[in-house]
Amino acid sequence: LSLHSRISPELYDELEEILITTDVGLETSGRVLEELKARVKESREERPEMVREFLKEILVDLLSLPVPPAIDRPPLAILVVGVNGVGKTTSIAKLAAYYKAKGCSCLLVAADTFRAAAGEQLAAWGERLGVEIVRSREGSDPGAVVFDGLAAANARRIDVVIIDTAGRLHTKANLMAELEKVYRVCTRNLGDRNLLTLLVLDAGTGQNGLNQARVFQETVGVDGIILAKLDGTARGGIVLAVADQLRLPVVWVGTGEQPDDLRLFDAREFVTALFD
């Protein structure tokens, strides 16, 4: 940021540029800037450097949505969803590593029965992490695999069962209908488990991420977001638009391709990085 000697329209323009260039989007940026101007006026603040601090506070507040308590309450079923290639399967491996390290028994369910080598990919992760996996042959019904997976998890009293689904565009009604069916199979076969539905968003996604979140939330009631690939140069500002307009919390952040590249979302750390 350039040095400003006083609070001016240029200062606000510069802050807006930061929000736009980190994919926060026009609508949420506009609303946040209005809130910022109001707060500056109300506080009678005259120091330009304080304006930036106020903005950070507004953004941290916006992102401080309650995280679903279920993440710490096994027995748990985690359904992982999202569009193609965002990082679902890899995030599942990371989640399994996380829960296993906490002493939980885990089971993976390979409910992506469509994409080439999807089952092999998850099986490879299972083998590497020492976590069992429930699979079926390619082309079979994902709902059936989920049913088998939950039955096995409940019979063996597994603490955390994590379900991988095929990537799908939110614009494909038939695929979203398939996902809704998978979700119903989950809710009807949980036993005494909590169900957590996590949507994976790619940190490099533009405004389409908001459409994704909206449609997935309408279809399967998303509880939280995994923001993957934050180790790139994209800042993941789309989650601010998602928090602002859909009130969905970010639960996890993916920072690489290895099993330990997952951490709990920290709003303050995230907002600081937005301004780096």
Binding site: E17, T21, A117, G204, G206, N208
Partner: protein, 291 residues
């Protein structure tokens, strides 16, 4: 919505007999918002608007009988010019085999696109071979092998070898099997991972590709320019593939990448099936971006 407002502003503008600078600024502001909402890079938008404004207050508009219409025409012209004037073909090397290298960020669609391109070339009467040079991602080689089997195309892989060796050996295999195209699938990587970017440069040096295609997810946001610029500086890209364009993303990243690298968008992915690959038409994306 923005697209509707833009159409309305441009419609009103077309009808005006005489334009004031306020009319022009108002219209350009709507164009700017539409482009930003479509994920076009902030700085690319700014320079684009400045170019259009310069023409809009110039003689071609002020001396026109329908200045409003002229401005709208300028916007469309500048957008289409930016996207590239016409479709661009996949190159053919002077001597076979033609090597094509597919590169890009994690999850952008490289492996699927490699197979799709193989199918596309086969339908054109070519004899492509695919090379599985992603040794890192679990079951990446399997993924390409399965797709190759579906298409009845040979897939080259060599257990225990590094990606540079695999690519080099694949070229030898292509010549032996009398194939005329080699499509090399590489691991997804961050443009800021120096070691992995160096690996790509080493693959390029080893097999001298005719085409180096950056595979980009059409829903990428403002960061697209950083990614494309880095890959282009390191490798001298020859083209781009935009994937997942059948989604409702406006695809503004394509415009930004084109502006910053000058690379032509050659192909577009329009679905998950192997037949979902099309030639890129620049004017179609221009109208899509403007809503």
């Amino acid at each position: 919505n923005l697209a509707g407002r833009l159409q309305e502003t441009l419609r009103k503008l077309r009808g005006k007999g005489k334009l004031t600078e306020i009319d022009v600024d108002e219209a350009l502001r709507e164009v700017k918002l539409a482009l930003l909402e479509a994920d076009v890079n902030f700085r690319v938008v700014r320079s684009f608007i400045n170019r259009v404004r310069e023409r809009a207050i110039g003689k071609e508009v002020t001396s026109s009988l329908t200045p409003g219409q002229m401005v709208v025409k300028i916007v469309h012209q500048e957008l289409t010019a930016l996207m590239g004037a016409k479709e661009e073909k996949i190159r053919v090397a002077p001597q076979p085999p033609t090597v094509v290298l597919l590169v890009g960020l994690q999850g952008s669609g490289k492996t699927t696109t490699t197979a799709k391109l193989g199918r596309y070339l086969k339908m054109q009467g070519r004899r492509p071979m695919l090379a599985a040079a992603d040794i890192y991602r679990p079951a990446a080689v399997r993924q390409l092998q399965i797709l190759g089997e579906k298409l009845e195309l040979p897939v080259y892989f060599s257990e225990g070898k590094d990606p540079v060796a695999i690519a080099r050996e694949a070229v030898a295999a292509v010549k032996k099997q009398n194939c005329d195209y080699l499509l090399v699938d590489t691991a997804g990587r961050l443009h800021v991972n120096e070691e992995l970017m160096e690996e790509l440069r080493a693959i390029k040096e080893a097999v001298r590709p005719e085409e180096i295609l950056l595979v980009v997810d059409a829903m990428t946001g403002q960061d697209a320019v950083n990614v494309a610029r880095s890959f282009h500086e390191k490798l001298a890209l020859t083209g781009l593939v935009l994937t997942k364009l059948e989604s409702d993303t406006r695809g503004g990243a394509a415009l930004s990448i084109r502006e910053v690298t000058g690379c032509p968008i050659k192909l577009v992915g329009t679905g998950e099936k192997l037949e979902d690959l099309e030639v890129f038409y620049p004017d179609r994306l221009a109208s899509r971006i403007l809503g």
